[in-house]
Structures are given as structure tokens and as C-alpha cells.
Symmetry: C2
Subunit: 428 residues, 2 copies
């Protein structure tokens, strides 16, 4: 393949004309496809239908310590659910609080807590000036939306091959006591699928923040969401590393069963040091009488143990793998050597991150949309929706059936080519 940048103006104009014809043809097909969100497909949801039968009208709905799970109470989760989530999150059951159906909601609540009441009794963020968060980019739009909602300034930190730029993070957090947190998706990151190296995790655990109320928001959303038996990424357990580094209170770790069982009806949890959990429980005691314990039981009795969860994840992978491979294969085949875009082949997670030529992402997404394929908005992977290079696009292959995914990718690739040709022509 000849790189576009090496083509002559004439070659490019001719190519543009061919691509425009193809695009028009696509537009005429009246497509309506969605590659925008990291939602499991119906086929994946079918994997958990057995969960609907696990509790019935004859089931003893008491948990293992005899508490009637139908009634009020139990603020932090029934013991067997804390144990199961503990296995999933890789921390002792004692270091867990189980919440409702949404780990995003737990993150929101923890930021809200820090904002109104302060972390572990320190000055509330709403009473401090210029509170800031570090945001590895590209990252997860819903994380950035939470900090934006609370008026917290966000500072971009570039993602490197093995995690965010730790030199920059170490410098910033040690020099600025207004930096209160950082959003991390440490494994199969959203959107790049990057897994933090052991060194990155250790450097996180050994941070020396100027702010005593600095916390790492460690959203381990994809811990067991492997695509392959091999290669399969492993990361160091952050609570343990923080404790070893003498920073036991520096991290909140978030997890849920959303993409294991049902995204709308899973079980979410936080894990942290005892001091952090005690701090959060003061709030929980006021904010609820307890979360849905029947749904906790349903999960425990269906999955039984981490082995049950891992078996389920293999079935998810069997559905996800061909979709990811189709996307990667098409990108390689259609764009390889053209030097108009780059991408990372992930070992797990829910996304493939694509970087176009600078200044092209918004237009690519717009053209795709106008021809009937919805992608995540360009810019969404950056705080305030502002990608300084206008180049990152998040591809979410999970939801559409594979035939639709292939059609959507054909259009996407066409849009990448068309916009890139126009861009290079502008510069010639």
C-alpha cells in the first residue's frame, strides 16, 4: 500500500472521487447501526439467563449468617457477596462495601462525598479553591463527566504503552496540593485496551502527593474481561501495593458485575482501606438503609465462586473475540501502510481506540453518522469533550451483530480514507 502522504495531488484527487462515490452509495443504503457504547450484545446477555431462575418462591432467602435478605438492613453487603466480589476484585472480603447496580454511581457518590464532607474528615473539596484531577487520555467520558459536574479542573496526562505518563503524574501530584485525584482504568483501559505494567502500578502506589486527600480512583472495570486464554493481561493489586508503599489510604478501587451478568442489574462494589471504608460508611448510614440484598444473593448463588465467573467470562470472550478480530483485521487490511491512522490490538476490555490524522476525528464521526453509523462522539475520550489533536475515535464492537459490525466498519474505514484524503490535499 502506498501511504496517502506519498501520493501525488492527481492520485489523491482521483482517489477522492472514487471514495466519494462509494460514500454516496453507502448513504443511499439507509443504514442505522450503532458502535457508540460499550454495551454487551443480546447474545452475551443470554449467557446469564440462568440467573433469573436461581431464586424462586421456594428459595431460602436468608444469607449465610441468617439475615432475611428480603427485609431492610445490611449496609455493606451480605458476607457471601462480599467474599465473591472480594475474589473478583482480588482483595479480602473485609475491604469491600457492596453498593447497588452501578459502579459509576459509586464513583459519583465518592466524589460527591469528598466534595461535601471531605475525604476522611479533611476539608471538603467544595470549600477548597482550584480542586483538580488528573485524567489519563484518551479515557472514559463518564469519569470526566463526574469531575466536570463538580467543577473540578481536569488536567490531561498522556497514556503511554504501559499506562499513563508516570513522570508527569509524580511531578504534578508532588508539587500541587490542589490535585486531589486521578481517574484510572488500569486493565484493558477504556478506550485503548492498555494494561498498566507492574512498574506503573508500583509508581502509583509510591506516589508522594502534596495533598493529603489525594486519592487514586482505580476503576478496575475490565479485570476479568479477557479476549483470549493467552495472552491474558495481569496487573498488580493496587491496595496491596499501596499498603506496602506506606500509602494504604491512597486508593479507592471500583468494580462491578455489570459486564459479567446484566449491565442494568449487576452488583457494584468499592474496595479500600479500613479507614476509607469507615469514612464512607458514615455517609452510607445516612444515605440508605441498605442495597438490594436479593440481587447480591442471586449473583452468589448463580456464580458460586470466582471459577463460575471465569467460566462465564470465557463464554463472553467467545462472542467478543470474533468481533474484535473482525475490526482489527479490517483496519489492518484496509488501512495498513496508508499512514492515515493507528490503532492498538487489545487483549481484553470493550474498545478499540483509533487515532486518525490530526484534525480529522470529528469529521470522520460526522460523515459516518450522516451515512447511518453512530460512533462515540469524537472528543468524548478527552475531558470537556476536547481532543487537542481531534484524532481519537473509540470503536465499540461489542453490541452489534457481527454482520452489522462489518458493514459499520466498512463505512467507518471509508470515512477515514475520505477525510484523510481531503486533509492531505489541503496540506499539499
Amino acid at each position: 500500500m502506498k501511504a496517502y502522504k506519498d501520493m501525488s495531488r492527481e492520485e489523491l484527487l482521483q482517489l477522492k472521487s472514487v471514495l466519494e462515490d462509494l460514500y454516496k452509495e453507502f448513504k443511499g443504503r439507509g443504514l442505522s447501526l450503532d458502535m457508540s457504547r460499550g454495551k454487551p450484545s443480546a447474545e452475551q446477555l443470554d449467557l446469564s439467563m440462568g440467573m433469573m431462575d436461581v431464586l424462586d418462591c421456594f428459595t431460602d432467602l436468608r444469607c449465610e449468617v441468617g439475615i432475611d435478605c428480603r427485609n431492610y438492613g445490611v449496609m455493606d453487603g451480605v458476607p457471601e457477596a462480599k467474599r465473591l466480589l472480594g475474589e473478583l476484585i482480588e482483595v479480602p472480603a473485609d475491604n469491600i462495601i457492596i453498593y447497588g447496580n452501578s459502579s459509576l454511581n459509586v464513583m459519583f457518590d465518592v466524589v460527591s462525598h469528598a466534595y461535601t464532607h471531605g475525604v476522611m474528615g479533611m476539608t471538603p473539596w467544595c470549600k477548597q479553591e482550584n480542586v483538580k484531577f488528573l485524567c489519563p487520555v484518551p479515557g472514559y467520558d463518564r469519569h470526566f463527566a463526574i469531575t466536570e459536574y463538580f467543577g473540578i479542573d481536569m488536567i490531561n496526562v498522556p497514556m503511554l504503552e504501559d499506562g499513563p505518563d508516570m513522570d508527569m503524574i509524580e511531578k504534578l501530584v508532588s508539587e500541587n496540593d490542589t490535585i486531589k485525584g486521578i481517574w484510572c482504568v488500569p486493565k484493558y483501559s477504556n478506550p485503548q485496551g492498555i494494561t498498566y505494567s507492574d512498574e506503573t502500578v508500583r509508581r502509583f502506589a509510591n506516589l508522594k502527593p502534596a495533598a493529603k486527600d489525594f486519592r487514586i480512583f482505580w476503576d478496575n472495570a475490565y479485570n476479568v474481561h479477557h479476549l483470549y486464554a493467552e495472552p491474558r493481561d495481569i496487573i498488580l493489586e493496587i491496595l496491596n501495593e499501596c499498603e506496602k508503599a506506606g500509602n494504604p489510604d491512597m486508593v479507592y478501587k471500583f468494580s462491578s458485575t455489570s459486564k459479567i451478568s446484566f449491565p442494568g442489574s449487576g452488583v457494584a462494589a468499592i474496595s479500600a482501606s479500613q479507614a476509607n471504608l469507615a469514612d464512607l460508611k458514615k455517609r452510607l448510614k445516612v444515605s440508605t438503609i441498605g442495597h438490594d440484598k436479593l440481587n447480591q444473593l442471586r449473583h452468589v448463588r448463580y456464580f458460586k465462586s470466582i471459577n463460575g465467573i471465569m467460566k462465564q467470562m470465557e463464554k463472553h470472550a467467545a462472542i467478543m473475540r470474533p468481533k474484535f478480530e473482525a475490526v482489527i483485521d479490517m483496519l489492518e487490511k484496509e488501512l495498513g501502510g496508508l499512514e492515515i491512522g493507528s490503532w492498538i490490538k487489545p487483549h481484553g476490555g470493550y474498545f478499540i481506540s483509533f487515532d486518525s490524522l490530526d484534525g480529522c476525528a470529528k469529521k470522520i464521526v460526522r460523515l459516518a453518522k450522516e451515512a447511518g453509523v453512530v460512533m462515540t462522539d469524537a472528543g468524548a475520550t478527552y475531558p470537556y469533550g476536547k481532543d487537542p489533536h481531534d484524532s481519537n475515535i473509540r470503536i465499540a464492537p461489542s453490541f452489534p451483530p457481527i454482520n452489522e459490525l462489518i458493514t459499520a466498519m466498512e463505512l467507518f474505514i471509508l470515512c477515514v480514507k475520505l477525510v484523510s484524503v481531503e486533509k492531505i490535499l489541503e496540506m499539499k
Copy 2:
């Protein structure tokens, strides 16, 4: 019966001695009974066991507009659940947002919203000085805990026979722009079982608050929780009355199925004007991807309509009624004419409110506890746990089986007599 205050010192001393012997005997029985919280009994929870079977692995889990309820999405609830909750809450489905399993959590979240972001874009309460709430007393401890948590000053307003003292409320809210809200349980109030009269509701709807961000927090927790087919209390619908009065945005109304189906696993909702709902949705959009839609479906397909709910409530009433009547009968039989306490016979709800002689409640509850019967802490029905008369005690008859309830009440009445005799002796 001779009133204690009319007894001679000798009579009282003799009575005291008899009561002390009885108390000692009770103490020797090693009781462990709980009348502290408004929890349904196991027998009541059994009424909803059919709900565990209503969704199974063969069920179509799409809602009526075709959305797959297993997946992410639908911020404000599936249409059929909004309709069912609308019937329960007596407002159009369009005026509802469905949340998770806890209406208390919704109230917490709404106060938190006003605190951090302000009501409908007005100045956040955290940026205002001396924010205050009115608290009809006696009232619900968990309401008061929320406002206390956010540092909101609470002002007691006495409950009268047909609701809180509206003269006082009208005067306070019209004269003080620091008064931002009032906690109300308008029907079968917690703990007195008082239902607001039509006049009270209309006066609420016609309030002229000095603060534009004043809101009535209308916790209609016991709307269908009648004890009898007749008498059965009815209240005016507050959203409608507020709209008629030209105050459409002045009220948040809260409700849940907690004491209809399962308290830990019900469905909670808020209803309010479109302007208020739009304001809350701005927060919801950031704080969650959606609540548990499968549990919404479970409720809709089990109850089907308000008729299904009303039938269920009749069954609850059949279990609750004998317990309430046992408590009332024992109070009347044992304390009638003694002039050492008063109580109200409610037509519904979860509590019986008892008022002892001034300065006796804490001691009564302590003595009962020392002999093995846990009551709600004396003072809990007042903000900051401070009952200025130290007289109000909340009796929660729902949870214990009736034989245990009767034993617990025997002890409670004994404690009331003993502490009252001591009190009157002190004053003689």
C-alpha cells in the same frame, strides 16, 4: 382506674414496690425482643414470594417499548413501571423518575443535589449561610439525619391533630429566606399515624416562601398502608394542589414499594414538576447509566396494576391489624385513666406514638432495654435526637410475632408505670 397523680404518697410507694418486683421478674426472663424499627414481619415478606418466579429464564425481558431491560440505559424508568408507580403515587407517569431500591436514598440525593448544585440552577445550599429546614415533630429520624448530615439547621414544628402547625409554617417560610425545606410524612405519619387534612394540604400548596428554592419534601411512604377497609384515610394530591395554587415547582414527592413488596429490593421513585425533573435528570445523567430495570419489570409483571398492589396491601393489613389492635388494647386496658401517658390509634402506617409524662421517655426506653426489649431510642423522633419534653416514644409493632409483641408490650407498660410512679413521687 385512679390517676397516679391523685394517689397518695403511700399508695404510690406501695405501687412502686409491686412494680419493681414485677420488673425484676421480667428481667430474670432473659428476653430479647425488638420493637425498634418499622420493618415488615417475615409473614408479610412471604406475601411477595411469588415475585421471585415472575421472571424466569424463558421470560422476554424487554419492556413494552422493546428495550432490553438486561442491558444499560433508560435513566428514568421503563414506561410500564412509571405507569404503575404513577398509579401508586397518584400522578401521571410523565411526572415520575424511577430510582433504585431506596426512597431514603432518593431524598438524600435530592438534598445533596440542592447542596452541591442548587435547586433548578439557584445558588447551591453549600454556598448559602444558615440553611434551615422545618421539621414537624415528632417525625422520622432518618429524615432528620439527612439534613443534619448536610449541616442544615432544623427547626421543630409541632404536629397537631390534622398535620403540622400551619400557622407557624406559613409565618416562618414567608419571613425567612433561609428556610429551604420541610420534611413531611403526610399520611399515617411516622410516628403518630396522623393524616394531613385537606385544609393542611391546601395550605401547604399555597405557601408563599421567601426562598425561591424552598421545597416541600413530601414522603408519601404510607399512601396505601391502611389497616382497615374502613376507616381509610385519603389525602389531597399535593402536586396537583401546588399546580392549582400557582406553585407547581414547590414539592418533591417520594414513594417506594419497600413496604409493599420487599424492603431491601423494592423500587423507589420521585414525582415532581417537569422543571424539577429536568433539573434532577441533569444530575442523574452524570451519576448513573440507569437503575435496575429488571426489578422494575419484576414489580410490574407481579402486581400488574394498582389493583394488584391494593390486594397485596389488604393482605399486609390482615397481618398488621391484630398487632396494632393488641398494642392499642393493652395501652387502653393497662394505662387508661392513669394519666401517665397518651397515644393515638392510627388507621394505617407502621407506628404507634406514645407520649409519657415529661422527662420519662429516656428512662422508660432504658429500663425496657435492660430487661430485653429494644424500642426506638427516646428522642429519635426529634431533630438531633433531642425531645424537649423527653416524652415521645415510637412503638413499632410490625416486626415481632404477636406473642412476642404482647410480651414486649407488657414489659413496656410496666416500665411506663414504674418510671411514672417514680416521677410523680419526686414531685410530691
